[in-house]
Symmetry: C2
Amino acid sequence: MELIPASHPRAKSLLIREKLVNGFDSGIVAKEGLMAHGRGEAFDYLLGEKTSNLAKKSTQAAAAMLLLAKNPVISVNGNIVALSAKEIVQLSKIIPAKVEVNIFYASESRKKNIVLMLKKNGIKTVLGLDRRKQTKIPKLDSARRIVDKNGIFSADVVLVPIEDGDRTIALKKFGKKVITFDLNPLSRTAQTAHITIVDNAVRGMAELVQACKKLSKKNESALKKIIRNYSNKKNLSENIIEIKKNLTRRAIHG
Amino acid sequence: MELIPASHPRAKSLLIREKLVNGFDSGIVAKEGLMAHGRGEAFDYLLGEKTSNLAKKSTQAAAAMLLLAKNPVISVNGNIVALSAKEIVQLSKIIPAKVEVNIFYASESRKKNIVLMLKKNGIKTVLGLDRRKQTKIPKLDSARRIVDKNGIFSADVVLVPIEDGDRTIALKKFGKKVITFDLNPLSRTAQTAHITIVDNAVRGMAELVQACKKLSKKNESALKKIIRNYSNKKNLSENIIEIKKNLTRRAIHG
């Protein structure tokens, strides 16, 4: 493969793209995952490719909810592991939370590669591979319905960093609190989740690690107050306004 | 691979995605091409996933410009061939125009697979493989600078269906009229090209074939009039307004 020309104005974005390509080459990312990343890139571009104050607000609420949870689970797929394996492991230790692999396009070997990558980054246990512990989330068609009895199935809060709308809806109907990263504030995932962090997962996961570190020193009532003062609906609306502002700005200066 | 659940609300978009995946499996589409497609999908979503009247206007102007050209060339890459091989061949016969393969991530075998796919769809000659005829477009870093002396190098009008901004700028500086498909009306490609068709290439190429068929019956002065009455700047601005309207509409009804 040719090197990315340094003069290319999207060089930074192309370099993140290479992380996904490497993830694909290591059997972690699905072909469809490469395309899903592209969709995220477009929204990131419209949001100005930076972590907004709106995203920081959602991150605070997400950290509080994860720290208050009795049985929090981080659900991971190929894309998030290709982008943020280190941060997933850090997060699972700070909260602490279980980690479960759960992918849209079923593949046992890809699941194993994902687990391997997380183990390389220092995690001991990843759920989702043991067939004896598998059960189903009701009202879900895709391969993602298969979950671990002790993981997502019995979780109270699930962090689903990069998600499809179907599963978010099914998890919510099943009584789970859902926290997600989604760069598209209009998506069903974004609109359905309890807390939607509208940010690039590469930047956002690092932010969430920091927020959990800081907030882990606060008491329960302080954490509950953060959640009480947070409105996901309002945050998403403000993100849409932000995109519209950026469109106007770019149209004028572009 | 698991079948796409029919209940999935993005099933149609997922099926087009499968075309790209098939193109990847046949060695036509690059991994980066899968991601680029995802970016297009996001903008298509924001534009309502339909061919707008704005796109139809640009298509008319593009058809007129291609029909008036003395040496028009259709520059193709993996993505456009995976999506629209049949339409590329039809278009090259109607205008008539030469077809040249020109890709961002250099790979001789991918080039050959692209040519093979076009030949399967009934084309006799595709430029871009013959090293003896290769020369360079000035002021361009990427592998795309290598072009055929009798193709893009000596063309007056170049149709570049899915493009990077660098090459559009370089081609324009080199004196070419550039027509492009770009779903992002803010991109450098969109802003630089003489005519930008803001539409999904799957839909847009079929439209362009029809427009060329119809307009091929018109005389030179009628075609010139269509171009004179077309403003790319205005069309792009209106596309940006359209996205903003769609954002508002989706935010309300979403």
